[in-house]
Symmetry: C2
């Protein structure tokens, strides 16, 4: 059993100043006075300040806590910082970022297939190493306060399982700092590239947690065949599904409805996510309403990045209807485009901007998507800032949640399972 | 005549490493070797490093420069930084930011009029001082490398000319660090608030450089009357026009066409800007094409912020047609919404994201809008990085222009009319 740490002068979710007691990787209690701690086990650190609390009665105000819970506890003064639960990136592509490599001059064509073909060629030409690059993005994510990542990882007949292996290696290396979940992702198509299905099967056997899919109509040109294949893999391995659905308008609506129907027929409620789902941003609001009811009935989750240049799902109305929404940074600084940082507060801002969220309650909703929404989709147990939850949290200097989102301040402290993993915007681990 | 400064190891617009010689507030020459400078007049500074150049032949490689041009010159080592021309914010609202004030909890309603009425009330309740607040935004803008601002400034029957006076006071205070141009802006309506026209007239007499307008149909409910009034003011004072045109779709197209017709009838070509112009993002591409031809014929400029939640003008196609586009940060951290920083590189990124610009040439176009496009609209003489131009520039650590936009690095050095005004992200002047 580790010594406890008491974070004083913090404002969980922007609320009143309080303290948060952490031990054995979990939040043990809130509202313990620092003077209640009998002793300090570790030396003071500069930032954030660790102070010698005065002696006092440990049980005061929290009778359930025994004095032994607090024995040898550290006190960390949060300095009035906002405490947010660990940020979650529920849609990443760790294997393809080019962060840390020379600038990639992007001259790619306008179609989706241009980007897919270009990427497969450039991966070889430039040596985009899945382990090294995912490790780099992971370390940047830790510095920005991300506690969990769901990463789609390319599986195709060129790269085989090398990207899966690379990301798994990076995940293992940083397992004490961040949780990473893998989606086996047929980026270059599933049925149109014979051999991919077998590789997907192997990736799932190796431990990828989620079955990926991609544009059943637009990419594989065989929506029934594509959905049969990935639902078959999901059934075989007992794993959930996350499909990239870029198809817009009525075509996307068709693929979405086919997915909903399969979920209901197979009893996969709550286990399927449709990423992007641009069709939900189409002008035909009656069609969107019908799809929304189907999503709700089938418990299908929607991932949106708040793309500025595409029609997008309307976060507020989908949430009001009861649909679970999640968000993520998607690809960043890769052959698809140069934008993006691993900062989920910046992503939350972009989702807010795209959805015309201006009020504080609207921005709080956007952050709820990027935290609790993502946790629901990834089925993370004991997530949050309540006693009993895993101690995954971030401290930032901001007056309100909305200010944290729009200002995106340097992360003062990032804690994962009770341990400090980043300080003042820098991870305490290094990238290759 | 001031001593010259030679900025060595800089890459203007991301090109090859070179040096840039500055004297008397202008760029005198490029490509002068540091060893060509006979002496150094000022002591070395830490950042960026100023070094003692070796003795040598000043005229080498630049026979037109006399040795006396370089006498007593400083050498500033740019360390390989990218040199960009001074960034321009061609659409600001300096008088209404709440930066530096306690967090404003936004609970405003969804309509334009909700925001306008809310702001007028909150200005009084919260004491949003136009001088203090514009000074704060100006100082932040200087730190972010902005050399010129066009600010719309509210004129209405509540505030009268106080905002104009406040922004003019701040402009005077920071006149050596930044150029600020004022648009007299009837934010609460022109004809629907009797007395506003007279206040606008007085604001222009006081020195506001541009006549503002707002939604001729949507706000004043009298497009003919509104346009008659502001074109009348423009004629009387011999000043250009910049109209906020939020009206979308066919209504906006109607007001835009009325504006084009007036410009042609009155010979005001090149003197009118239509800000926002959401109607140019409407689905009817044939109507947009007809408007585009009208804009081109009338030399009407378009300002876009790349709003993520509204239909927007298509930057690439308008530019390809020959229309001049400019951009700006618009309101930031005000009663309208909490978003925004004075950083024009961030604005350029948002314009790029909204327009789905991914290629390096597309991002270069976005930055061209935020620099040379803005300069064309504001009719800035001698703007740029060529010899003879005013020495207004920014140094940033980035490999390419695209990287500067998507990474938005801290501004290493900001120079205005030859003088350093900000360093490492901090202005050398202070805000009240």
């Amino acid at each position: 059993m580790e010594n406890a740490t008491l974070y004083t002068n913090v404002r969980p979710a922007g609320g009143e100043l309080t303290s948060v007691l952490v031990r054995d990787g979990r939040i043990l209690a809130r509202g313990i006075p620092a003077r209640g701690i009998p002793a300090v086990g570790n030396p003071a650190r500069d930032n954030p300040a660790m102070v010698n609390p005065a002696q006092g009665n440990p049980a005061q105000g929290n009778p359930a806590l025994s004095a032994s819970s607090l024995e040898g506890a550290l006190v960390v003064d949060g300095g009035g910082a906002l405490m947010l639960p660990g940020l979650i990136d529920a849609h990443a592509h760790l294997d393809k970022t080019m962060y840390g490599m020379p600038w990639y001059r992007n001259e790619v064509g306008p179609r989706l297939i241009d980007k897919i073909d270009n990427e497969r060629a450039e991966k070889k030409r430039l040596g985009i190493d899945p382990y090294r690059q995912s490790a780099r993005q992971i370390v940047m994510s830790i510095a920005d306060g991300t506690s969990h990542i769901r990463s789609h990882v390319d599986v195709d007949t060129d790269i085989g399982l090398a990207a899966i292996e690379g990301v798994m290696r990076a995940r293992e290396q940083y397992r004490d700092q961040i949780d990473v979940e893998l989606v086996a992702f047929p980026q270059s198509g599933l049925l149109i590239r014979p051999g991919t299905l077998e590789l997907m099967d192997e990736a799932l056997r190796m431990g990828a947690e989620v079955v990926g899919g991609l544009d059943p109509a637009g990419m594989d040109r065989d929506p029934k065949g594509h959905l049969d294949a990935i639902f078959g893999l999901a059934d075989k391995h007992g794993k959930p599904i996350d499909i990239h659905l870029h198809e817009a308008g009525e075509l996307g609506a068709f693929s979405m409805q086919m997915t909903i129907d399969r979920v209901l027929a197979l009893g996969m409620q709550g286990k399927v996510t449709l990423s992007h789902s641009f069709c939900l941003g189409m002008p035909d609001t009656q069609a969107v309403q019908a799809l929304t009811e189907g999503l709700l009935k089938a418990g299908v989750h929607i991932m949106t990045t708040g793309s500025a240049s595409r029609p997008v799902p309307h976060v507020a109305s989908l949430r009001a209807a009861g649909v679970t929404i999640c968000t993520g940074n998607d690809g960043m600084r890769d052959t698809w485009g140069p934008y993006g940082k691993p900062d989920m507060l910046e992503r939350t801002m972009l989702v807010g901007l795209r959805n015309n969220f201006r009020r504080d309650d609207e921005l709080a909703l956007a952050l709820d998507v990027a935290t609790y929404g993502n946790a629901r989709v990834m089925k993370l147990a004991d997530y949050g800032l309540a006693p009993g939850c895993h101690a995954d949290f971030v401290l930032v200097q901001a007056e309100t949640v909305a200010e944290a989102i729009v200002s995106r301040p340097v992360r003062k402290l990032v804690v994962k399972r009770g341990r400090v993993v980043a300080r003042d915007g820098r991870a305490l681990v290094e990238a290759p």
